[in-house]
């Protein structure tokens, strides 16, 4: 086995939250609100349903092959060559997704805090920190995440509570104004983010209690959705749907307006500082999945030699993106069909169906 570590269910939940939330909370609200206006929160609820289904799908699939990752059982299900092809596509997707995450991360930091710093610096240092965690294995990665993510989640909640002063519930009215189609369109992007839980297939084999995988996946999805839902509600209730839809990072702006007694203000810097840890964790998980996947795909005994080369590829891929407008456009239009239909639902579903048809794998516990 390439990975010796085991993680417990609590760490797994936090890891999956990190897998989705840090960038979702940045970019998803604006895109969703653009489609569904003040009904964006309904979109999130719809997306949560989809997310739970995807979570169920990937957990079902993984539990049929205890102790094996996606890359190992893809070959078992489809046969050697088609399995390798699927594996290759997933490696590509992990890398691509990670490059996009780095882009979001860097462009956010650039526009929010350090406009004069070239983005490549963020790419290199961000990847370097993540590489350090990945080299140390899943155990250290999830401990690191367990150390800092609660800070982020707690701080976010506090900030949202402090922001209630500026909220108006009437900004959520009228409900269901734009109709079901708009809501479904708005749900596509959050669903594609929640669908990133497909990486859980790389983590399930290392759970110390694999039987709790369903619970872990469901709880993590619900937690993430809760934070997405709250951040969208907060943004809409403070700024209204029109303004929110035109901002790039509405949640960040919602944090900025917090000002209490001329003292408790400029919370956004603390929030961003804590959020950066989440960013490292998210990049780390995708990075880890890509590295472990490649090692299994190539049949290596150790994944560590791959950490550095994969990091270089990630920096190069991330540097391909020209600017934030292009990035957001890609995320809003191309990403949901590309990620959701192929990698998050399509392939796992095909794998599961073929596995059932060919009677591969155990019953699943």
């Amino acid at each position: 086995m390439l990975e010796q570590g085991k993680i417990d269910s609590r760490q797994a939940i936090l890891l999956i939250i990190s897998l989705v939330l840090p960038t979702a909370i940045l970019t998803v609200p604006a895109i969703t609100v653009k489609h569904a206006a003040q009904d964006a929160w309904i979109s999130i609820i719809v997306a949560t349903m989809a997310g739970l289904l995807i979570a169920r799908l990937v957990t079902d699939l993984s539990l049929r092959f205890p102790g094996k990752t996606l890359f190992e059982y893809a070959e078992e299900i489809l046969g050697r060559v088609p399995g390798k092809v699927v594996g290759f596509l997933y490696i590509w997707w992990f890398l691509h997704a990670n490059a996009l995450i780095m882009d979001e991360y860097a462009s956010f930091l650039c526009s929010a805090h350090m406009p004069d710093t070239p983005v490549i610096v963020f790419f290199i240092l961000g990847i370097a920190v993540a590489a350090c965690a990945v080299r140390n294995g899943l155990e250290v990665l999830s401990r690191f995440n367990q150390l800092f993510l609660p800070l982020f989640l707690g701080l976010l909640l506090v900030v949202f509570i402090l922001a209630t002063k500026d909220m108006k519930v009437t900004r959520l009215l009228p409900v269901f104004d734009k109709g079901a189609i708009a809501i479904l369109k708005g749900a596509a992007t959050p669903a594609s983010w929640l669908g990133e839980i497909v990486i859980f297939t790389m983590i399930i084999p290392f759970l110390n209690k694999p039987k709790e995988a369903y619970r872990v996946a469901a709880l993590a999805t619900l937690f993430t959705s809760f934070y997405l839902l709250v951040s969208i509600l907060v943004a809409i209730m403070i700024f209204g749907p029109n303004v929110t839809g035109h901002w790039i990072f509405p949640t960040y702006n919602a944090v900025r307006v917090v000002s209490i007694a001329n003292f408790l203000e400029r919370m956004e810097s603390i929030a961003v500082a804590v959020w950066m840890f989440g960013g490292f964790a998210k990049v780390g998980v995708f990075y880890y999945a890509a590295v472990l996947g490649s090692a299994q795909w190539l049949g290596l005994k150790d994944y560590r030699p791959l950490v550095a080369p994969v990091g270089v590829i990630l920096v190069a891929l991330a540097a391909l993106c020209e600017n934030i407008v292009e990035l957001l456009d890609f995320l809003a239009t191309a990403w949901p069909p590309y990620a959701l239909s192929v990698f998050e639902v399509g392939m796992p579903l095909v794998l599961l169906i073929v596995a059932l048809a060919r009677g591969k794998g155990g019953e699943g516990t």
Binding site: H113, A128, V129, N136, L147, S269
Partner: protein, 540 residues
């Protein structure tokens, strides 16, 4: 980094590629006598011992006869200064030469029965052993015991007469507390084990002694409480100690560095204390203590990071106050690591983080300062570190002078001369003070890392600072001390053990021992010990 470490590793082979059957030969010449045994002839023995202990002017040889019987010749050998002279004189020489004939008048003792007779009825010493190995004899002489040789017998009697001038038990200097025991460990191993035994009057407190150091032959003891300690841990400690093949153990730091799991880390993963009450508390939680002769610092393993932010006093003061103080200490630790870096980041990159008036005030102070803020802070930090080091090294009477000069130079002159801003002095001074609030051995790690983070912060502002913290976080997450994750019980989280991290639960609510340390015997005490007034107390 890895590439730079690899050649180093090759040059200094560490754990793993250590030749397992390295010869046990001493690094000293002329060690051929080590396997020899005593001969029945007294003269031969004496000659041999004198040859081995040649030019050892502190060894005393006393030859006399038993019970004024010219037939039975005896020789007593001990080291002057290590053996208790009155004990040797009264209980051995006087007893054997004069008192025995008075106690058993007229009885003729044959040469063959002499040894038995001396042991049973002659010696007034409580602690005696016998040996026939030359090696043990030499060892005994040099460690303060006195050796009695009897003519016609190839067996020597080793009398426990250790008694040398040693420092009296005094107050702990490195770990002062307001409340709690005032005793500190001293340099003598036996005194230290006694200090432990006095606190834990239980047959389950086991103290095993080894000899380490090929030349120094230092006594090293491990102490643990059977039934609480994890047996595997004891075995692991023993095997790591037995791996040590060095010529000298002069301080417990030698052992610490040789049994660590992460020799490249700036963080210590073996804790040490000079307070017997703290050591006892550690043992009672299932840890193992390693006592080394010649130092008052006792090692305890496994070591968790939070131990450095705790003080023994935390358990003697009321828990509410303790919790508040611990919060202060955790914040101080954070400050001592990050404050200068944060200051650099804010002043050079993120002006928006400061309230306008404060920003203007700092800008006003910095107007005349010729250096960038990073240089300013770096110079001040280095000055502070220099002062601190000077304060430790200087002969004590001069310490006062240093602090006066330091305060004047740093506090007044530098600011007046316009070399540094007053705000920088405040930041550096506060950072320094904050680093004194928790254990020294962790604060030196923070001191080092503070500079690294300052560099990152000067280059990349807040992003650099956070990246640095993340790297430190990842490193801390990867550390283990004797198999126990360094950051536990926070990560990986063991819920019940959070009772004693920042929050200190009242003693009546601490039902369990730390789960990852005392694996076998978790239960510390019964539940329901909460004191209550008689009216509300449940009947029966």
């Amino acid at each position: 980094m890895v590439n730079f470490i690899k050649p180093l590793r090759a040059r200094f082979p560490g754990r793993g590629n250590h030749p397992a059957d390295q010869s046990k030969e001493s690094s000293l010449p002329g060690a051929s006598w080590k396997e020899q045994v005593l001969s029945p002839d007294l003269e031969t023995n004496l000659k041999q011992i004198k040859a081995i202990l040649d030019k050892c002017s502190d060894v005393v040889y006393r030859e006399f006869v038993f019970a004024q019987n010219e037939q039975i010749r005896l020789a007593l050998i001990y080291t002057d200064g290590l053996a208790d002279k009155t004990q040797v004189g009264d209980q051995i020489t006087k007893a054997l030469a004069l008192e025995v004939p008075m106690a058993v008048p007229g009885q003729e003792i044959s040469k063959n029965r002499a040894l038995e007779f001396i042991k049973q009825r002659g010696l007034c010493i409580n602690e005696i052993q016998q040996t026939s190995k030359l090696r043990d004899v030499i060892q005994a002489i040099l460690s303060g015991d006195s050796v009695l040789l009897v003519d016609g017998h190839d067996i020597a009697i080793v009398n426990g007469t250790k008694g040398w001038a040693s420092r009296a038990i005094s107050e702990p200097e490195a770990e002062p507390t307001v409340r709690g025991a005032r005793e500190s460990f001293v340099e003598t191993l036996r005194t230290n084990t006694a200090l432990l035994r006095r606190r834990i009057n239980s047959p389950n407190l086991k103290i095993e002694v080894f000899k380490l150091g090929e030349i120094t032959n230092t006594d090293v003891a491990i102490a643990y409480i059977e039934g609480i300690v994890n047996e595997k841990l004891v075995a692991e400690v023993k095997s790591r100690l037995q791996r040590i093949k060095v010529d000298a153990i002069l301080e417990s730091g030698y052992i610490e560095e040789l049994i660590e799991e992460n020799p490249w880390s700036p963080f210590p993963t073996v804790n040490h204390t000079e307070k017997p009450d703290r050591a006892a508390a550690m043992l009672l939680e299932g840890r193992v203590a390693i006592l080394v002769d010649g130092t008052p610092f006792v090692l305890t393993v496994p070591n968790l990071f939070v131990e450095y932010l705790h003080s023994p006093e935390d358990y003697y003061e009321r828990f509410i106050f303790t919790t508040a103080v611990r919060i202060l200490r955790f914040l101080s630790a954070l400050v001592s690591l990050t404050l200068p870096a944060l200051y650099i980041a804010v002043v050079s990159f993120h002006h928006e983080l400061l309230p306008t008036t404060l920003l203007l005030s700092i800008a006003g102070q910095r107007e005349a300062v010729p250096f960038p803020v990073f240089v300013e802070v770096l110079v001040m930090e280095l000055t502070f570190e220099t002062l601190r080091e000077a304060g430790i090294r200087l002969p004590r009477p001069l310490g006062q002078a240093v602090s006066i000069v330091g305060a004047l130079v740093i506090g007044e002159a530098a600011v007046r001369a316009g070399l540094v801003a007053a705000a920088t002095v405040i930041v550096v001074a506060f950072t320094g003070i904050a680093s004194f609030t928790f254990a020294y051995s962790a604060s030196i790690a923070f001191r080092l890392l503070r500079f690294t983070i300052m560099f990152l912060s000067a280059a990349l502002g807040l992003f650099g600072l956070i990246s640095g913290l993340a790297l430190i976080g990842i490193h801390l997450c990867s550390l283990r001390s004797f198999g126990v994750p360094y950051l536990s019980p926070v990560v990986p989280m063991t819920g019940i053990d959070l009772k004693d991290v920042v929050f200190r639960a009242p003693l009546w609510a601490m039902f369990t021992r730390p789960r990852l340390i005392a694996r076998q015997n978790q239960k510390r005490q019964e539940q329901g010990l909460k004191p209550e007034p008689p009216e509300t107390r449940p009947k029966g």
